[in-house]
């Protein structure tokens, strides 16, 4: 047997162990890997940076525990950016789990920026019917959501919910960002994007991201974060402009992502090299 034969049949458990080790080390030890900020993430960042401060931003989340690895960091950088710029925002969701996960994230970040629920941010809650809801908010947000989801206060009660001051429909929004593993963006583009001056940005999982270039190219979407990589690029921009003092989880996470992809390259290379070498060896044996 050829001495390179092992490269073709490495026990899977060894592969798993190496991957796990790379992830743990990558998270613990800051590895300075180059990170190119792509045009899509930059465009989204610029849109949030230039969003009018006197209007309400809308962050729609549709992710659940299963895709939080990518979608949670994306939500976090967007919320941090909005809070740093003191833009009030609203949360909404088309996924029941997501409305809780995003609310918890917002509750975690709010104290750091002095955000108060009802004054600086609000949770509209969850709706199952995508098309109906989106068609509804184009006409009237208070009629569509009726109350906030935390305390069931009518959205028109401005004394208790000053955050809703001057917000009637999508025309009164400053920017819309959806963070989602599913294809809801089509409904946004069909029903909402044309109705409002607010720009529309996206945080898709990296599986879904390639679908979106088309829409960015067509100007229907201002920009996006390509999965976890996009979130890290966005975080890089936030560090550069001083919004963030130190890198967070996202920047840490990008090193193990890159390392694991490199591992995959190495493994595929090894497997093929071994196969090639063994095959050649066999040919020579025959010849001799």
């Amino acid at each position: 047997m050829n001495r390179l034969h092992w490269t073709q049949t490495i026990d899977r458990r060894i592969l798993y162990l190496v991957l796990l080790a790379l992830v743990v080390i990558g998270l613990l030890v800051p590895i300075p890997l180059p990170l190119v900020v792509g045009p899509q993430a930059r465009a989204l960042y610029n849109a949030v940076q230039q969003a009018p401060e006197d209007k309400l931003a809308l962050v729609c989340t549709n992710w659940s525990a299963s895709t939080q690895g990518e979608n949670r960091p994306q939500t976090e950088v967007i919320l941090r950016h909005l809070m740093h710029r003191h833009i009030r925002f609203a949360l909404m969701a088309f996924d029941q789990q997501s409305t809780n996960l995003a609310r918890e994230l917002a509750e975690e970040l709010a104290p750091q920026y002095g955000y108060v629920y009802g004054r600086d941010w609000i949770n509209w809650g969850y709706r199952a019917d995508v098309n109906g809801t989106l068609k509804g908010i184009v006409l009237s947000i208070p009629d569509t959501f009726k109350t906030d989801s935390q305390n069931r206060i009518p959205l028109t009660d401005l004394a208790k919910l000053p955050v809703m001051q001057g917000v009637h429909n999508t025309k009164d929004l400053s920017i819309i960002v959806e963070i989602s593993p599913s294809g809801v963006y089509k409904a946004w583009i069909q029903f909402v994007v044309g109705s409002t001056p607010a720009k529309f940005g996206y945080g898709p999982t990296s599986v879904m991201a390639p679908e979106l270039y088309n829409y960015i190219d067509a100007g229907q979407m201002v920009g996006m974060m390509f999965g976890i990589k996009g979130a890290a690029e966005y975080e890089r921009l936030l560090i550069q402009d001083g919004t963030l003092k130190k890198p967070g989880f996202t920047t840490r996470a990008i090193a193990p992502v890159s390392l694991s992809l490199v591992l995959l390259f190495v493994l595929i290379g090894l497997g093929n090299y071994g196969m090639y070498a063994t095959r050649n060896g066999r040919k020579q044996e025959k010849g001799s």
Partner: protein
């Protein structure tokens, strides 16, 4: 008269004793229908099944084909949410079958002390604790933590094992064994290269835009592959799937289907 008003006249909402009377009446009627149905000869039974399937489908088909007015609705549109609810409710009633399947298999394990019966105890206990705390103590920290910290963690953990599996699958499958395997490998490598800084750095000397060469940047090649080749291939595959689904749906709806479940006559 509108169909919706006709219906509300035929089935007026009731309250108090009349309501209870109506509910009991419906139940008795159901029991009667049950035995009446069972008295049918096999041929008629087949027709009942075929008829029920056809009628259930007919509603959605008619609603769609019936021209809509200026307001985007037709006389059947008002019933779409209700019929959707009926489908949801009927599906929900099957829940008991699933729970009974679990209880039967795991209850048996416990009763006969089969190997691993302790696990079956854990399964049944978990089910009871979760159901009871969810139904009656929904607002407690206990239930919220059980759902979020335990159940969601398990979901995410199982999902995360995919990271390992994808590595071993790629390592094993991406070998230059055949034209097909090689093509798959090349495409995967290019797309992955486009995602990592090292890959992007390979062609970063090419200007991002404005030059013919910029098309050769790894990220651009990768995007092109995903948005042109991949999108076109997926689209063609999906055309076939769409037509296939249409065909089997028509066969099921019109009771033309043959094969498992359908060929046998109702005894």
């Amino acid at each position: 008269m509108k169909l919706s008003t006709l219906l509300s006249k035929l089935f007026p909402p009731l309250h108090g004793w009349p309501l209870i009377g109506a509910l009991v009446g419906v139940l008795v009627l159901c029991v009667f229908l049950f035995f009446a149905l069972h008295a049918l000869p096999p041929r008629a039974r087949k027709m009942v099944i075929a008829g029920a399937t056809f009628l259930a489908g007919l509603f959605f088909a008619l609603e769609w084909f019936w021209p809509a007015g200026a307001d985007g609705t037709n006389p059947l549109t008002f019933a779409v949410p209700t019929v959707g609810n009926v489908a949801n409710v009927l599906t929900a009633f099957t829940l008991g079958l699933g729970v009974m399947s679990l209880i039967r298999i795991h209850g048996n394990n416990v009763a006969r002390q089969k190997a691993g019966w302790e696990n079956s105890v854990v399964l049944l206990a978990g089910m009871v604790v979760m159901a009871v705390s969810g139904l009656f103590f929904e607002k407690t920290i206990f239930f919220r933590s059980l759902f979020r910290d335990v159940l969601n963690s398990f979901d995410a953990a199982m999902f995360a094992t995919l990271a390992f599996y994808i590595i071993s699958a790629a390592y094993r499958a991406f070998r230059i064994k055949s034209v097909e395997a090689t093509l798959m490998m090349i495409a995967a490598l290019v797309v992955m290269l486009g995602m990592i800084p090292i890959g992007q750095a390979l062609t970063s000397f090419i200007p991002e835009r404005g030059s013919f060469l910029s098309l050769l940047r790894v990220d651009n090649i990768s995007n092109w592959m995903l948005t042109i080749l991949n999108a076109a291939a997926q689209r063609a595959i999906n055309f076939g799937l769409g037509v296939g689904a249409l065909a089997i749906a028509l066969r099921v709806w019109l009771s033309l289907e043959r094969g498992a479940y359908f060929e046998s006559s109702a005894e």
